[in-house]
């Protein structure tokens, strides 16, 4: 932690101005994406497709028409919301790798409310969303409690609880609430609990606005409010925050709980807005996508919207690419991984250069 170990030079010691930094990271990101796309082109040629055709198909799949754009937004919605869940923890200096599990629990709880009760529309929907939020929070309750009270590492406990959540929801779906004659899914929710769609031609629904509102709200919270300021200070230097009168333990608990609640909401939005039922194993990897989106955005909620949109568009485009070209989904996965790697390296090179060797160290 001392000056002496710093062999790399600091960035100019003047006030960081908002705009150039933005621009810089934007340019860096674009550069990284081009590198990754170049890698994608090589792969496309390897499978005997013209890279141009592949990319055009990708673009068309993502943006070729209102319904395609809606499809991209639809894909982005759960990534935005789970990304925000990850952001909340990340900015408070915590790691919630369990978004995946909370998403499953939230999705299931919302569906359960949806098919079990008969209620008027606004109330039913509200209750469903509340159930999703509660289930997500509940699912992180024990890890959060032990993290706050005894310092139990939340990364491990949330990773492990993912497995339990997925198995448990599978159990409930298949053995307790299975729709007779159906596949591994519950009965459909009643229409009063459905999250309204935005357009006729797409399943895109109000979930998108929930996600964007959450991101903007979180951003305002972090930059404007006392509680947000305390939370950021905690994330950046907990000893300092503690000294300054920020109640660390309580905040750790609350932050994880909020993160879990938003994770649950991500699942609830999926079941209430898109599937209208709970399907066993319906969203593998969404939680991890969200974590990656949040980390690529360095925990910035607004940037998270954009990283999530990027992932969503890529995914939507890849669906068409799979139908129209020889490039199959694994190749898309490979390209996607390359893009994430390139972006992560590029984006963070400049940011991280001024951190010291010891600060990158994972804090156990």
């Amino acid at each position: 932690m001392s000056e002496q170990s710093e062999t790399r030079e600091l960035t100019p010691a003047k006030a960081p101005v908002a705009m150039p930094e933005w621009l810089h990271s934007l340019l860096g990101t674009l550069l990284a994406i081009s590198i990754a796309l170049l890698g994608g082109a090589v792969i496309a040629i390897m499978v005997g497709e013209s890279p141009f055709h592949v990319f055009m198909t990708l673009l068309r799949g993502a943006f070729g028409g209102p319904d395609r754009i809606a499809g991209s937004l639809l894909q982005s919605t759960p990534i935005i919301i789970s990304g925000i869940a990850a952001c909340i923890a990340f900015r408070g200096g915590l790691f919630n790798i369990g978004v995946e599990g909370q998403l499953y629990m939230g999705g299931f709880a919302a569906a359960w409310v949806g098919f079990s009760f008969v209620l008027p529309a606004p109330l039913h929907l509200t209750l469903g969303i509340a159930a999703a939020i509660a289930a997500g929070a509940l699912w992180i309750l024990i890890p959060a409690f032990f993290r706050a009270r005894y310092g139990t590492n939340e990364v491990v406990s949330t990773i492990l609880s993912n497995y339990v959540a997925i198995l448990l929801t599978s159990y409930f779906t298949i053995f307790v609430f299975k729709r007779p004659g159906g596949w591994s899914e519950t009965a459909p929710i009643s229409t009063t609990a459905e999250l309204p769609q935005l357009f006729e031609f797409s399943r895109l629904n109000w979930g998108l606005f929930i996600g964007v509102a959450l991101a903007v709200g979180l951003h305002m919270f972090l930059t404007r409010t006392t509680a947000g300021y305390s939370m950021c200070a905690m994330g950046s230097n907990p000893k300092f925050a503690e000294y300054g009168g920020v109640p660390i333990r309580r905040n750790v608990f609350l932050i994880l709980l909020c993160s879990g609640a938003v994770g649950g909401l991500a699942g609830g939005v999926e079941t209430l807005g898109v599937h209208h039922r709970f399907m066993e194993g319906f969203a593998p990897g969404f939680g991890f996508d969200g974590v990656i989106a949040a980390l690529l955005a360095n925990g910035h909620p607004i940037l998270t919207i954009f990283t999530a949109l990027f992932f969503g568009a890529l995914r939507a485009g890849s669906l068409l690419m799979e139908v129209e070209t020889n490039a199959s989904r694994e190749l898309i996965t490979v390209v996607q991984a390359f893009i994430i790697l390139a972006v992560s390296a590029q984006l963070l090179v400049r940011r991280r250069r001024d951190s010291q060797a010891g600060e990158r160290r994972w804090k156990y």
Partner: protein
């Protein structure tokens, strides 16, 4: 093997006045900051050479360049008459340099011997030969009178011992030139004297010592030559004998500074802080405070002195609510506060300058205004109804930057780009501007230059005169003597005695700090226990 061990005696031939080290025209910029500006100076073989200067004058940077940690933008380094390229610490070590850093670089979980031999381990059959390392550490420790237990785990040792291990590291690597960056900042007067005796021993054996210090008295007492830096430039290099302390101060800051006991109006304040029979544990679960009781009244400065690691840290933490109290009662401004809740304590009326400014006192990743806000984010007009008034925060910050002479480019400067002394000023600016009934000031001038020190002392006195109760914890006896109304001496987690600041002598306090007035049987050994 012999390459690495022992010092090499200075060759007897050659001119007696050869320079061990010479730096010529060295410049180093960090962005817009010119840390070193065309610095040239020379260190003669066999002398103790002191480097002094205000905070941010560029002392550490210069030594880092010499030791190969930074690469200079321009300039050259000449060692033993030969121009050399010092591109890494490894190279510096092979050139016979050794550096004891301002912040120790020991690995807490390893033994003293492991730390000493880290990087140059002795091996047998490919495995580390711990026995040989321990034997050799012991040998060196005895030879130079450092008394270090080679098998002790560093995490359990006091700072003084840690420093000796750092010195052993340098010696074992065969250094002829030993560089020490603010070596006495964390030591007691006795320990400092001990250190300088050791350093004099080195020069007697033909080695060369360079040290950075803010303590002019010790510079005057032990150095042969002084180099003064100001704003990255060399003001001059003089033999110490030709200088008075006043001259030195003038060279450093360009003006006179008085450093005698402050005059003080009598004030009779009510009791603000009261500790009754406090017990607490340290991080390792060992008893750190035992039955500590005292009061602090408004309008007085109570000084706490003691060797580092005798419970002062824990005492400060207990009072500020950062550490749980095992037993006992603390009342601050009429409010009981032993629940270990810093927020509650702050609301009860505490302003706190913590000793560990890098980790506790600031958030280095945040701006100065973000740091100034901490602790009053709940108070109007800093915030209202849960929303922060950033405009006000920034205005106040700019004001404080001026008032406390923080060298920074405005309120949006990131704290991590400031020098150590300026970081400390950020902490002081925040805490002293709060006008709280009780001020807990822990090592306020550690690593701070003499010009800034005076300003800080002024502030502390002003707070006292305005009626605040001040608890001043410092390892620097002269600071306590200058400021305190009453002095409490801590030893082994207890208050070993109280002395009147007006009549006490330094030796009297030194004896108390060393625990000598306690009978050996009754003195519980706290800090050295493992």
């Amino acid at each position: 093997m012999s390459d690495h061990q022992g010092f090499r005696p200075t060759p007897s031939f050659g001119a007696p006045m050869t320079n061990a080290i010479e730096m010529r025209g060295v410049s180093k910029r960090f962005g817009p900051v010119i840390a070193n500006d065309d610095v040239s100076f020379a260190v003669k073989k066999g002398e103790i050479h002191a480097i002094v200067g205000e905070n941010g004058a560029g002392k550490t940077t210069l030594m880092n360049i010499l030791f190969g940690l930074y690469h200079p933008d321009t300039g050259e380094i000449i060692i033993n008459g030969e121009k050399v390229e010092v591109d890494s610490p490894r190279r510096a070590i092979s050139l016979g340099l050794g550096m004891v850093h301002q912040h120790f670089k020991l690995v807490p979980s390893l033994t003293a011997a492991d730390n000493v031999f880290l990087g140059i381990e002795k091996t047998r059959n490919g495995l580390i030969d711990h026995a040989a390392q321990i034997a050799q550490t012991r040998e060196f420790s005895e030879k130079f009178g450092l008394s270090v237990d080679p098998e002790a785990i560093v995490a359990n040792l006091s700072v003084g011992i840690e420093q000796r291990i750092e010195i052993l590291k340098v010696l074992v690597r065969g250094a002829e030139v030993v560089i020490l960056d603010e070596p006495t900042a964390v030591l007691t007067p006795q320990e400092s004297r001990e250190l300088f005796r050791t350093l004099r021993g080195f020069t007697d054996q033909g080695m060369t010592v360079i040290f950075i210090s803010h303590h002019l008295s010790e510079v005057m007492a032990v150095s042969d030559t002084v180099t003064v830096l100001r704003d990255g430039k060399v003001v001059g290099t003089r033999p110490t004998a030709e200088l008075g302390e006043d001259d030195l101060v003038r060279m450093m800051v360009g003006r006179n500074v008085s450093f005698s006991r402050r005059k003080r109006p009598r004030t009779d304040g009510e009791r603000i802080l009261s500790l009754k029979s406090i017990w607490a544990r340290d991080n390792r679960g060992l008893p750190a405070l035992q039955d500590v009781s005292f009061d602090v009244h408004g309008g007085e400065i109570v000084g706490i002195v003691g060797v580092d690691g005798n419970g002062q840290t824990e005492l400060a933490e207990v009072i500020s609510g950062l550490r749980h109290v095992s037993h006992g009662e603390i009342v601050l401004h009429g409010q009981k506060i032993q629940d270990g809740d810093p927020r509650l304590v702050r609301h009860a009326g505490l302003a706190h300058v913590p000793a560990d400014r890098l980790h506790r006192g600031v958030d280095k990743a945040d701006t100065i205004s973000g740091n100034i806000l901490m602790g009053r984010q709940d108070e109007a007009p800093w915030s209202s109804r849960g929303v922060i008034n950033w405009r006000y925060v920034r205005e106040r910050t700019e004001e404080l930057i001026k008032r406390f002479d923080i060298r920074a480019n405005g309120s949006r400067t990131l704290v991590k780009t400031l020098s150590g002394g300026n970081m400390q000023k950020v902490v002081l600016a925040r805490e002293f501007s709060r006008a709280m009934p009780f001020l807990l000031v822990d090592q306020p001038t550690r690593g701070v230059d003499i010009g800034a020190m005076e300003g800080i002392h002024d502030e502390i006195m002003r707070q006292r005169n305005e009626g605040a109760a001040v608890l001043l914890i410092s390892v620097q006896l002269d600071e306590i003597m200058t400021l305190a109304d009453r002095i409490l001496v801590m030893f082994a987690g207890t208050i070993a005695g109280e002395v009147d600041a007006d009549t006490a002598t330094e030796d009297e306090i030194g004896m108390l700090m060393a625990g000598r007035n306690l009978s050996a049987a009754a003195a519980p050994t706290v800090n050295e226990a493992s």
